[in-house]
Symmetry: C2
Subunit: 306 residues, 2 copies
């Protein structure tokens, strides 16, 4: 009998097999699509641009197969292609599934009442046309607006990553404001504890209620980890954005076989657009991508090794 | 010579002509599509459901023509239809344009750096396949993440509505937390003052930097208005959600000809799904919708009249 799907168990199981927590960002910036995949300029409304993005992202996904547990498409970069971008995103999700990759859609959705419910249905119900394994969500509208997402996690095993502390320059404008002696992001993290507990996996104990905690603020990881000992961390900001592998995994804790675990570390630009991948020769491009992926995997593997 | 487009000027100009600030929500909940427009059950992935939503929303938009200045499609309800929903949204925007209606897309987007820029490009650049006249955005990630949207407002005259105080039960979880003696939403509103000033229209003085302030919390409108004297308010929560017309316009101020102005008041369920519109007879349905729209317009018109 197969176990029902549980995002955190599936993710951590695969991360343990691979020995590293690399999450590969799928951020197809139009102005960065390598020459190998395009002819001429790239414009959001142009069907040739959609073709170029498809060719590039598909070839990239094929390189990721066997090298990472999970990929993170950035919804904005598909939405900017218009309706064709939504179709392409569905194709990308299908391609990832064929390649054994979990898909965490970075869409940062959030709304109230029945609209939140529609977002949860759109992305977390297995029979939806755009179903993924996990979704990032925005908490500004309050705890009740997270419930439809948590409900899908409970019912369908999907993962939900709540934005807690991001890695951009202005992140602190709201997130660091002091509320009753603690920064806002920490009081938010603490308020998620019951969701976290409810969504823990039977196999690993890790929770499908995850949190986004930027790697550029390593000193804050410990505080969030204390508030949420079983939440998966999604850590952006490693590599091109500046944090080291060691900083990125600072909120991870000791796993059953000695290594550190408890989240995933995202790299987008660093692995998708390495300088050596500007070649118009396909095999040179493939080698450059493989090398960038392998280097990230190796750095992160070393950072979590016991 | 035509003036360049300026959202606040265009919106307030039209509101003055009509004499009321009604914004009509386009929230096509699948389980509420009237029998007149569907055959059998409605499922997100089913092409017949998309057809039914199209027929319903198009017929509804035709009723709104001449009765409101602006419509507010809820992105979640289109996204739940999968890639076909994005195509339908583009068709809806086009239909609204043909009917002389401004489109404010309620997508509550927000992200960092180049992703925020991609969202701004996707929805606010006039040549994008999904371009609308205005967009709702989420401020949790900080002031720098709002800048790409403000930039499009500056460059292309588009409108940006920042979530400040929403109308759901848990809205206060973060938004009301006390920060240096004031609730968070108010300190957020104050931090938007320079954006507001920068985006004021040459004709009306109103700003294309708007704010979302729920009608269920009328006592808070005055405080936000003091912080942002020229921002358009988008007030949800009128009608089906409970607030009266008088409560909904409490943050409006006296206009040049005596009436109160300074925002729009949204009604979704109340005008889209009135009880009398369950008839399978097309002209009965039309009359029911017309009556619901006219009633909302009349209530709001009375509330703002001098």
């Amino acid at each position: 009998m197969t176990q029902p799907f549980h995002f955190a168990d599936a993710l951590i199981g695969r991360v343990r097999e691979l020995g590293h927590p690399l999450c590969v960002g799928l951020d197809p910036h139009l102005d960065r699509i390598p020459p190998l995949f395009r002819e001429g300029g790239m414009k959001p409304g142009d069907p040739r641009s959609v073709e170029a993005v498809r060719a590039f992202v598909f070839a990239f996904i094929d390189r990721i197969e066997g090298r990472a547990a999970v990929v993170k498409p950035q919804s904005a970069l598909f939405e900017q292609l218009g309706p064709a971008g939504a179709g392409l995103l569905a194709e990308v999700v299908e391609r990832c599934r064929q390649r054994g990759l979990l898909v965490l859609l970075d869409a940062k959705r959030g709304d109230i009442g029945s609209s939140a419910d529609a977002y949860a249905r759109a992305y977390l119900e297995p029979d939806s046309p755009l179903a993924v394994e996990a979704l990032t969500v925005n908490p500004y509208l309050g705890r009740d607006t997270l419930e439809p997402f948590v409900q899908r996690s409970r019912d369908c095993g999907r993962g939900v990553f709540v934005l807690v502390r991001t890695s951009n320059p202005g992140a602190g404008d709201l997130q660091d404001l002091e509320v009753k002696g603690a920064p806002l992001f920490l009081s938010l993290a603490r308020s998620l504890a019951s969701f976290e507990e409810e969504l823990r996996g039977p196999q690993t104990g890790w929770s499908s209620l995850g949190v986004v905690v930027g790697a550029t603020w390593p000193e804050e990881h410990q505080a969030v980890r204390e508030a949420l000992p079983h939440s998966l961390f999604l850590v952006p900001g490693y590599g091109a954005q500046g944090a080291t592998a060691a900083e990125a995994v600072r909120g991870f804790t000791e796993g059953p076989s000695g290594g550190r675990e408890g989240g995933i570390v995202n790299s987008s630009r660093g692995v998708m657009f390495p300088e050596a991948a500007l070649s118009e020769d396909a095999s040179t491009w493939e080698q450059a991508i493989d090398a960038a992926l392998d280097q990230a995997a190796s750095e992160l593997g070393e950072a979590v090794s016991g």
